[in-house]
Homo-oligomer: 470 residues x 4
């Protein structure tokens, strides 16, 4: 009997995680502040949460399976409130397998000849097997299945005595996506891989330096003025202030386009772009090529909201709210059988009959992966009397695996590998299905060369020697 | 230390509860079906949940503090799944005081000389003290503070031997709002007070008759064709079918206008009207009298969504999504201090800076009670660079207490009793504040005489002899 | 799937409950003090616990299913520690049916025309149906299946205006066993039925008056000097001090002999007698008539401990500890199947092979009800190499139901109604089985006429008009 | 706020843990069987529990903080019941520090170049720092503070390709106490250090081979015929059967004498001796040298039970049960303040006044560490009217630290390092205090040279180069 989360509908690619870190010159309630930032990143991972903070000369780690409030609300309690610290890092995680393996929950925290280190990681290594073999051969024991643990092993086996050199050598062994935050003794270190696959922001306020995957997590601490950690950059914050180094030269950026399409919160900036505005423009771009006549435009809430707004504005068609989302649908509970996926969709989304009845509808969502949920939504709208349902996706067809931290179904499960848009329409019962073209999305993004869109194109930023399956 | 719920922001009037009931000719998974219907009514009460069902000749009741999934997900477990029944009722509840008093959680279930009866109740009696005194004098002991328990006492002390007569006599002693569902032996009985304050729908499917406060709870069981239980009507469903009686003549309807303004889910029909469409029209009506120039229209999500859409359409101003709502904000946790109300608002709502910056904004919400949250939202928008924020409420000024089941703050706490719209604007930092006029709302509703708007006007449908304080 | 408790082995009669009450002239941590006293009474009921205390002019009740630490440890927490009060009552309960019915958990607390009253009750009414009918006819609604609720109803329907008179009238309507504690406004009232079926002690310390079922619960508060509340006595403690009245004349005492045989803690005084000393003497009396030769005497721990000591001393045979009891066996968990009763016994008791091997054993236990567990214990000892096992019970054969609060299996389930001691020996695999005779137990108790031994003799203190089944 | 366990009274040395392992030729409910064996070993560690089992080609581990029923009862649930396996190991643990560090909970399970291995460990390494340094230098990262993790690291860094050789090399690097069980691929391996500090038994039944720290854990599976794993022995069980090897020659045994004195369950055999019989003989030996006159002998339950029996028998003085132990005292809850240690003792132990009053008492316990609890017990007996209390300990004075897995307070905290028996008597309020002499205990044990009694004598079996502090 497995707990299912109504949100966890498998209809979307999964992000791996969100990270945050705080350095303060003076003692402050670091764990409490991490609570707020991680809560703002909850959408990036709902399966587990954890923090490490530096207190009285050593690092303390608290982590567990569950959402941020369940795991960390102890730090809002009177007794724990008084825990003060100067340095802390935190993590929220979605895990695709070994759900119950507490060992995989981050931060990962260990002592070694390089000292007492806690680390959090957003992304995935594309040379995971290679570096895993490397540390195995050296006699490492792996207690988790996380790439993150391997990074600590590489650090520990490095023969460089100086920590910074050991770190840089280690980072140069890694290939793929890694936005990292580390506590090392009384310093906080932030790292972003040379391709900049995953976002990482840094901002300052009073005597605090704060890092977070998205700007919405800085907003909650009233830090409205932040910059990206640069690809290849290592930022160290300690008693001597904040220093920037580069462990590698970034020859080409490969920012994950899906962060803009689906992962990021609309109120965040990611890769220097407003997520909401980008999505709205994708919706506009979708409208430009429209071929069918329709009465209304509506979103699959909330993933299609911004693009539906853009589509409506551009097309001149009236926007409508024809699907109501149950606010409580994120709460997890056990579903009797897997067959009841349809019931789960019904519990989450319900048509507004008055709006839908007799209408030709342009229905906007961000992407299509398996098509299962889309079919059910089209069915719901049909029951409610919709005359036509034209599904429009504000991204191209997802056809290829991601080796950098997005969990995309196997190739065979991706509906676009099996069917043309016409066949998909038939399969899901829609009047038509249309994807935003790669050209259009490039135009929207402007600096499209700085982005990785391999899941659409199969053009990876470099040759992938191995396929990780997590 | 009290648990706070981010949703529970006190910025809105509180509804008391939602109810549902199912009668089936054949044995079916009644508790599981009640789970789905109550989950659809979760927005009507988040503090407790419970069900009663008839099994093997007696009524079983299961209820607890907590949300529907926490309390009832046991009925989705393999072991409990097999619980079948033919009759069941359920309840979700928001409780204003005695939060921990399990005795107040409904259904209330007792045996008496009238048999084994379980009851759920949406609404509040306006002659609560009077009937309480009546049963006290007869020697009743009250284990809860709920009006609902009094109804059972009245039934028990009735000298009518015949149940139907005892019930009708009892109902005629009650004054105020009461949509009721009862299990009495192997029958299910639905009652709506003669004023029809609170909604109650009935629908049929196969061999099932289902009652629910809103149609969205019938949708989940694929019942799309339902009618209202009429004011003063008593519907009895048993082995002999479904019968309708009237225990009192309904001389004047007094449907609660706030159900349309705020309580109902947009995808529901309430009092025969589509909630979303009504709200959209309220937004349109708001736009008609607009006096200021603005760049964009945006809602306080989600309470202002539908009216903002209507406003934008009518005014021709572009609709925007300038406030992002954290989907996880409904999860309850302990907040360190009450002073951190601001932090709670920030955790729930965050401006989309790109949208807001430099803009003259029409900000739409449904109603204004204390003004505390509104002030914080205006502050957030200001920080994000908004040039002007014109708050528009799609309802008139709330000035009077409700004696029929809505929990409105005391008169002194209602900001509209202390300030004019101009002063409110000043107080909350808005450029201007404007309410929808009573005349406009009447026009929108059309059959406005059938509605109670006493919280705006002070004109109660009948003289209130006493004030209940819960 | 039902939780089973290793202690809950059904091999013993069940006591119904234990009660405690505290009155203090000055404010003190009443809930915390009730925790300690109830924890000392935990052996009298492990299924639920609860307290009511008077605070700020009203009574607050907290109760739940579970053991004392699980239910009440909140009152040891820093936050709750500061809850002070002057008056409180508490209850621990074993419930035979409707285990999950929270409504049956005591204290029962209600308001009525007699004021705000909380009540706890040890015992059972033998005219339960009669008084239940009485209150039903008057229009009472019963939300629990507990006799205790009926007492509150009788109080409420009494036409006496003066509380004391109403109470006395009510008490005179009750037949059977009732040791009661009530909070009524700011007074604490203790009652014991005229037969004195169940124990109730009262002691004083500083400005506190404390009531408890057994003296061990007074010891924890360092009250070493207590007296019994007398049969028929009503003790009222309030601002004016402590007053004693008698609501009825006690014509004949009927103290429950099983309190001495099995229920009481050995370190308690009950009915003015040391429980341990009584049991030791029962063991001595058992030894007097011994007919078999044996090598060692040993107890079934811990119910046979004291009598085994007495037996060994009297007989001159060496005492041995041949069965080891797992200290953790009281923790409840789910057992896979009911068939695994044997495993449950093995988890709780294990022979000390070195002691048992090759020995002729006198095995002492307090009583025999179904014989199921005894058979398993004899089997265990056989496996460990015992040569002969002679089971000796320090009480007569249990043959009759109890109407005063002890849960004894149905007549057919009582092994002594189906078999002679010789047949029982054969049935359970023992070499012989012998019970303490009624004559002997009378001699041990000395004032045997003051005791009820109806479960052995069938001679009830008065004619029982009805049989309650709980 | 820390959870305190009434059992956890710090008045006794703490054992580190208990281990169990099962190999079955055919698939069986290994997790369920481990539940029963670990439950029988619960007295060896109450802070955490865990199991690893081999299923479908890989090892699964489930562990958590808490007692066995809390952590593992899931394996008795219907759903999990069907988990079958052929190989499993389990652990119960008492942890002296880092209580909340889930990483320290065993089994420790990791993959490395030596394969997928899970390990449990009873004992402590006396060269912990040395081997820790060794693996640190090789680049190991340590995620726990447990010695056990180091053993896995040593295995992984071993350059021997053949697993058996790598294991033997690793074991030869370890110094101190280690009874180990490992799952390695589809084999189960048991190891006992060459000194045999900690017990480990192996027994067979049908097609199962079972290992456990004490025989009581084999009894529950009806294995009554077991042998010790020999010091220095490695037993491997796999498809090819059971093989015995010796990784080192055992030159001198050093079995932990405290296992007999206090740790073991009385119904167990440990080091080939019946625990109960040994303790009884210690009590007899204590009696031989008695110098004072007394009325009764009684134990501090339950640690002094067996020796009090022996003492009484030898001395001819009557045995009595003068202290009653609350059966529910093992349940943990939060105590308001540390000052309430006295209350904790009172909640656990209560005098039987009738027995104690006016008596000269010989009070037997197993050992004296800090003297805190003893003082409180003497006080309790004094309050209950005892005339004289002569405390007798069935072990010598504890004066020295243990480097092999027993948690003994620091030297300064050991009362025998600060006071003579006469002073101790004065300090704790006893009439006299006497310890069993080293000579006597040697005589009782017979093969005393095979035992480590360094905590009494300071004579360690070999030179300890370093002191571990856990």
């Amino acid at each position: 009997m497995e707990k299912n989360n109504l949100d966890d509908d498998n209809s979307k690619p999964k992000h791996y995680c969100g990270i945050a870190g705080i350095y303060s010159d003076s003692l402050t309630k670091i764990p409490e502040k991490l609570f707020y930032t991680l809560f703002s990143l909850q959408h990036r991972g709902q399966e587990s949460a954890g923090i490490s903070y530096y207190e009285d000369g050593s690092i303390r780690t608290y982590k567990d399976l569950g959402m941020v409030p369940a795991v960390l609300s102890r730090y809002l309690e009177k007794d724990k409130q008084n825990i003060v610290s100067r340095i802390g890092i935190g993590h929220v995680k979605y895990s695709t397998k070994d759900k119950n393996k507490i060992e995989n929950v981050q931060p990962i925290h260990a002592v070694s000849n390089k000292g007492d280190i806690a680390i959090v990681h957003n992304g995935a290594l594309s040379n995971s097997s290679e570096v895993r073999k490397l540390v195995f051969d050296k006699g490492a024991i792996l207690q988790s299945t996380a790439d993150t643990e391997i990074i600590l092993h590489l650090l520990a086996i490095s023969e460089e005595k100086e920590f910074k050199k050991a770190l840089f050598n280690t980072l140069n062994l890694l290939e793929g996506a890694f936005s990292l935050l580390l506590i090392k003794d009384d310093s906080l270190i932030a790292v972003r891989d040379p391709y900049g696959f995953k976002p990482l922001y840094v901002g300052k306020k009073d005597d605090m330096v704060v890092f977070a995957s998205e700007t919405c997590a800085l907003d909650i601490l009233k830090i409205f003025d932040a910059r990206e950690v640069e690809p290849g950059e290592v930022i160290t914050v300690d008693r001597h202030g904040m220093r920037s180094d580069f462990f590698a030269k970034s020859t080409a950026r490969s920012c994950c386009v899906f962060e803009l399409i689906y992962f990021g919160r609309p109120d965040s900036s990611i890769f220097g772009k407003s997520v909401h505005s980008m999505r709205k423009k994708m919706g506009e771009a979708l409208a430009e090529d429209e071929t069918v006549e329709a009465d209304i435009v509506m979103a699959v809430p909330d993933s299609g909201n911004s693009s539906a707004l853009g589509y409506a504005e551009k097309s001149g068609l009236p926007l409508e709210y024809g699907l109501s989302r149950n606010h409580y649908a994120g709460r997890s509970f056990i579903m009797p059988t897997k067959e009841q996926r349809e019931l789960m969709v019904r519990m989450k989304l319900n048509p507004v009959k008055d709006v839908v009845k007799g209408k030709k509808i342009i229905l906007i969502d961000d992407s299509l992966v398996r098509g299962t949920t889309a079919r059910l939504i089209v069915k719901l709208l049909g029951e409610a009397g919709a005359k036509e349902v034209h599904l429009r996706l504000s991204s191209p067809e997802v056809k290829f695996p991601c080796y950098f931290g997005i969990n995309i179904p196997t190739k065979e499960d991706l509906i676009s590998n099996r069917m043309s848009p016409e066949l998909i329409a038939q399969h899901i019962g829609a009047s038509s299905v249309r994807f935003l073209s790669m050209e259009k999305i490039k135009k929207v993004i402007e600096n499209a060369d700085d982005f990785c869109a391999a899941c659409f194109t199969g053009n990876y930023p470099f040759e992938i020697k191995e396929a990780t399956d997590d």
